[in-house]
């Protein structure tokens, strides 16, 4: 740490982030404790559990399902889910005839308040470049083979609109409570790359 030579160009991202955080903290622009709080929020609290609660409620409460399909932003705010990247949310429902798949071909638009931050594969070139041109191929990679007669609809997210897939409620879950249903709804099913499976007895 002597002399005027900075080797930030050669150092890895961890060192660059550390340097940036030091500069911004010194300038009083950020507070490391506030940064810790955001990290904790998105690592542990804002995540697909939120979306799972929305889906379980839609499965068990027909009036809520209607409101969700009419205005998802408003309907998820009703149960307390709002925040950055949460505006203009659209819920799309899977049926026996239609399967919905969500992608962001440009980069990584994703409904944070209900799903948290996107997983690595969602942001990958492999997923973004193929979801529109070969959705069935992508679904097959996820182990999901759909009957030919099922129409696959691909939704390309943007800064303006994000999507939440309402997966089909699996057979055999008729007697499960809303809370128990929320436990079986997965993130992948709400992006449209998986189905929800009924728990094995």
């Amino acid at each position: 740490m002597s002399g005027d030579h900075h080797n930030t160009d050669d150092s890895g991202p961890a060192a660059r982030v550390k340097a940036l955080e030091a500069i911004l903290t010194e300038k009083g622009l950020i507070d490391p404790a506030a940064i810790d709080a955001i990290v904790d929020l998105y690592e542990t609290r804002v995540g697909p559990r939120n979306g799972a609660r929305v889906v379980a409620k839609a499965w068990t409460d027909p009036a809520y399902r209607k409101r969700l399909l009419a205005d998802a932003t408003k309907a998820v705010a009703e149960i307390g889910f709002a925040g950055p990247e949460g505006g203009h949310l659209v819920a799309v429902e899977n049926t026996d005839r239609v399967h919905n798949l969500v992608v962001c071909t440009l980069c990584s638009c994703y409904p944070w308040p209900v799903l948290g931050l996107p997983p690595v594969w969602y942001k990958s070139f492999a997923y973004r470049s193929r979801a529109v041109s070969d959705p069935r191929g992508v679904l097959a990679d996820f182990g999901l083979e759909l009957p030919r007669e099922v129409e696959v609809r691909v939704w390309d997210s943007s800064a303006e609109i994000r999507y939440l897939v309402i997966p089909q409620r699996p057979k055999g879950t008729e007697r499960m409570s809303e809370d128990a249903l929320a436990e079986i709804v997965t993130r992948d099913s709400m992006v449209g790359v998986a189905k929800v499976e009924a728990p094995r007895a």
């Binding site: 900075h6 930030t8 160009d9 991202p13 961890a14 660059r16 982030v17 550390k18 340097a19 940036l20 955080e21 500069i23 911004l24 300038k27 622009l29 950020i30 506030a34 940064i35 810790d36 955001i38 990290v39 998105y42 690592e43 995540g47 950055p84 990247e85 440009l106 980069c107 990584s108 948290g116 931050l117 996107p118 997983p119 690595v120 594969w121 942001k123 990958s124 070139f125 492999a126 997923y127 973004r128 470049s129 193929r130 191929g137 992508v138 990679d141 996820f142 800064a159 997965t186 993130r187």
Partner: protein, 94 residues
Amino acid sequence: MSTTELNSLIEAARLDADHVFSAPWEARAFAMALKLSQAGHFTWDEFRQRLIAEVRASDRIRARDGTSDNGEYYDHFLRALEKLLEEKGIAHSH
């Protein structure tokens, strides 16, 4: 952009379903960008435009060379943040 590549990412996600950050620096870069935008130093849209530009440049190289990405999304994210902070005169990285 092969099936194999997507499969390995899917497998990684299966092993660690809640995994959103691969390293602590990714989380801190994300949190700093969000905090600075919430404090009004730039809008999230301004940041997003830079991020899209970084991702697009990388996509072009991948499409040309037929190479795969290895989850370097946050490298693009960090570069976008550094460039934006430099443009805004908020912080210079070098």
